[in-house]
């Protein structure tokens, strides 16, 4: 009983820095500049549908790519020796020791029209080869300031959050279950399809949550990698607080709508993983 009191600092922390701000967001969303209660902030929301669309489409794309890259990586990693796993974990975590913005700046100089990739391709004569075969006049591959670059930024920054939960769930699967399946005549594919994959779903679900939510609410990525040409929700909200508009009420309303949509999506997802542990978002 006494030990529970040790949680008090965190409860205080949550109350001050999670619950209180949330309450403020709700209050701001339903009030206007004069302080009166209003629904105006929501009635104009239709204007911002393109920002919602961009954000959700790009975040879903990033999440799917993270699964496609992260799942096989986590799966094969879990079958490696302890040493290999330790080194691999280290390499996966390593980029996270550096600041998000710095990593993104690095991508800017990698993807630039005069950037590292294009310089490399030019130096090995790739463009000359292509141009002589197809008679084109290709000088560089345009990558920066596109929506693809934004998705790349999301994948790069959030991939570890997909790999780690999937890895830890697969790693904990009881080997006797797999052996039992093999004893009963299941081949490799069937073991994966019928045993390993279903048992790893909770990891996938928490990975999806941990990649999708930061992706959908990200800001600065669009500005740095997308040239500021695709307005995402995070940027739209930032614009209401620090931009030209200065309308924290509208900003809060947009943030609230985004949170509700994300919560609904997560609730639907959790239906699939019902009864499993490790996905408790709600």
């Amino acid at each position: 009983m006494k030990n529970k009191w040790l949680a008090a600092p965190y409860v205080v922390w949550m109350a001050l820095f999670v619950v209180a701000p949330l309450i403020l967001v709700v209050i701001f969303a339903f009030t206007d500049k004069a302080g009166g209660i209003t629904l105006d902030n929501f009635s104009n929301m239709a204007t911002y549908i393109p920002a919602f669309q961009h954000s959700f489409v790009l975040a879903i794309a990033a999440t799917v790519i993270c699964i496609l890259i992260g799942y096989p990586l986590a799966y094969f990693l879990s079958r490696e020796s302890l040493m290999v796993r330790k080194v691999a974990m280290m390499l996966i975590m390593l980029p996270m020791w550096m600041n998000f913005l710095l990593r993104t700046y690095a991508w800017m100089s990698i993807l630039d029209d005069n950037g590292l990739i294009n310089q490399f391709l030019a130096n090995i004569g790739f463009f000359n080869l292509i141009n002589s075969i197809f008679g084109t006049n290709l000088q560089y591959i345009h990558m920066i300031n596109t929506q693809g670059a934004i998705v790349l930024g999301m994948v790069y920054n959030f991939l570890p959050f997909m790999v780690l939960p999937i890895f830890s769930v697969i790693d904990k699967i009881d080997h006797r279950v797999i052996e039992a399946a093999q004893d009963l005549g299941a081949n490799g594919t069937m073991v994966f399809r019928k045993v390993i994959f279903p048992l790893s779903l909770p990891g996938v679900l928490s990975g999806v949550t941990m990649v999708f939510i930061p992706s959908v609410s990200t800001f600065a990525l669009s500005r740095l990698l997308g040239g500021g040409k695709t307005l995402l929700l995070g940027d739209l909200i930032e614009m209401q607080f620090l931009g030209n508009a200065y309308n924290p009420h509208l900003g809060s309303a947009i943030a609230l709508v985004m949170m509700v949509i994300v919560l609904v999506m997560m609730a639907i997802m959790n239906r699939f993983g019902e009864g499993e542990e490790g996905v408790a978002v709600l």
Binding site: W5, N114, G227, L231, N244, Y246
Partner: protein, 359 residues
């Protein structure tokens, strides 16, 4: 039981934090004469000072400088409106100063503490944005224009047209800031920066939407990197910054568009209820000294309002027609004025329309 404990400690923590804050505040206010002369919190544009000037100031006065930067007038305004942040000196531009005066966000200055104000060019005193010159002391001023890379642009541009030229698709950098970006479109269309005509503003946004597929990216200070490295061919920015960029990349050139351009003044002000007003005035005074003015000027290359600094400058710099333009150039320039609230609201919704438009 557990809940009530949590609530209690929350209350205790809040109280502790609050009283802690109060303590430090009164601490500096009560004994300004002590060995520790306290601090001055300065909020300036990015890339807009010779930072060694801050150390000189501390060495001379014993006042510590806490220095922060912002990217646009609007961002600075947002931060000041969020009561959390408190600064003693801010350096906004002309139109933002008049907006802040109107909204009672600035403290009148005590010019007895700023004797160096005498050195300010009389032409810049009592400006439109602060007609009685009660709230502001000019820091730097200059002209906006088109910066282009001569190896990537064959012609010699003379007008804003180049920013909308399809030949340079993907090579153009545009302001990521409604006032400046819409301003360029308004000038291209032959209108005033300060128009309140709804149709003219909408027409300007339509033009910017048409321009959007040609734009490589919307930038503020990231324009330095992109123009210096040659990743973009054309961008609009300030003449002082052009000189800085040209030091790195000599291929860059500057054009003053014939349709007219923006003449701006950035001035030092003290926000309402600043905690260290006297330190702030000491700071403003120091920034108006010849020594500090010269250092800043030679670092950022903007035009100085200080007559003594202009005399000390290399004649090549002080004779530069774009840095210290004559009447014929000034006649083509227009300053931003503060816009009425409904026009500002229109700017916001129209700017969002541009940002949401497809590429």
């Amino acid at each position: 039981m557990k809940k009530s404990l949590a609530l209690l400690s929350a209350a205790a923590l809040t109280l502790g934090a609050l009283s802690g804050c109060g303590g430090t505040q009164s601490g500096t206010a009560d004994d300004p004469g002590a060995a520790d002369k306290g601090v001055v919190n300065v909020y300036n544009w990015g890339v807009y000072i010779d930072e060694s000037v801050l150390e000189d100031f501390t060495a001379e006065t014993g006042i510590k400088v806490v220095y922060d930067t912002f990217e646009s007038n609007e961002a600075m305004y947002g931060v000041l409106k969020n009561e959390g942040a408190s600064y003693d000196v801010v350096i906004p531009s002309d139109y933002m100063i008049s907006r802040m005066i109107e909204e009672d966000m600035l403290e009148p200055l005590n010019f007895d503490n700023i004797p160096n104000f005498e050195d300010v060019d009389p032409a810049l005193k009592n400006p439109d944005y602060d007609p009685e010159n009660l709230y502001s002391v000019p820091y730097m001023w200059g002209l906006l224009g088109v910066i282009y890379n001569t190896t990537m642009v064959d012609e010699t541009p003379t007008s804003w047209d180049i920013m909308f030229d399809e030949d340079y698709a993907g090579q153009i950098l545009m302001f990521n800031n409604s006032r400046d970006a819409i301003g360029i479109a308004l000038k291209e269309l032959g209108y005033s920066y300060n128009t309140t005509d709804e149709n003219q503003i909408k027409e300007a946004i339509d033009l910017l939407i048409e321009q959007k597929p040609l734009v490589q990216s919307y930038v503020m200070d990231d324009i330095f990197e992109k123009m210096q490295s040659g990743s973009a061919a054309i961008g609009a920015y300030y003449y002082g910054d052009f000189l800085t960029m040209q030091e790195v990349n000599p291929d860059l050139a500057f054009c003053l568009p014939e349709e007219g351009t923006n003449l701006y003044v950035d001035a030092m002000c003290i926000p309402k209820n600043a905690e260290n007003k006297e330190n702030a005035e000491a700071f403003i005074n120091y920034m108006c000294s010849t020594q500090a003015g010269l250092k800043n000027c030679e670092e950022i290359w903007y035009s100085t309002p200080l007559l003594s600094v202009r005399e000390e400058l290399d004649p090549e710099v002080s004779g530069d027609p774009y840095a210290y333009p004559d009447e014929s150039i000034l006649a083509q320039c227009e300053s931003f004025k503060n816009l009425p609230a409904d026009t500002l609201a229109l700017y916001d919704s129209e700017w969002t329309r541009l940002m949401l438009a497809s590429n």
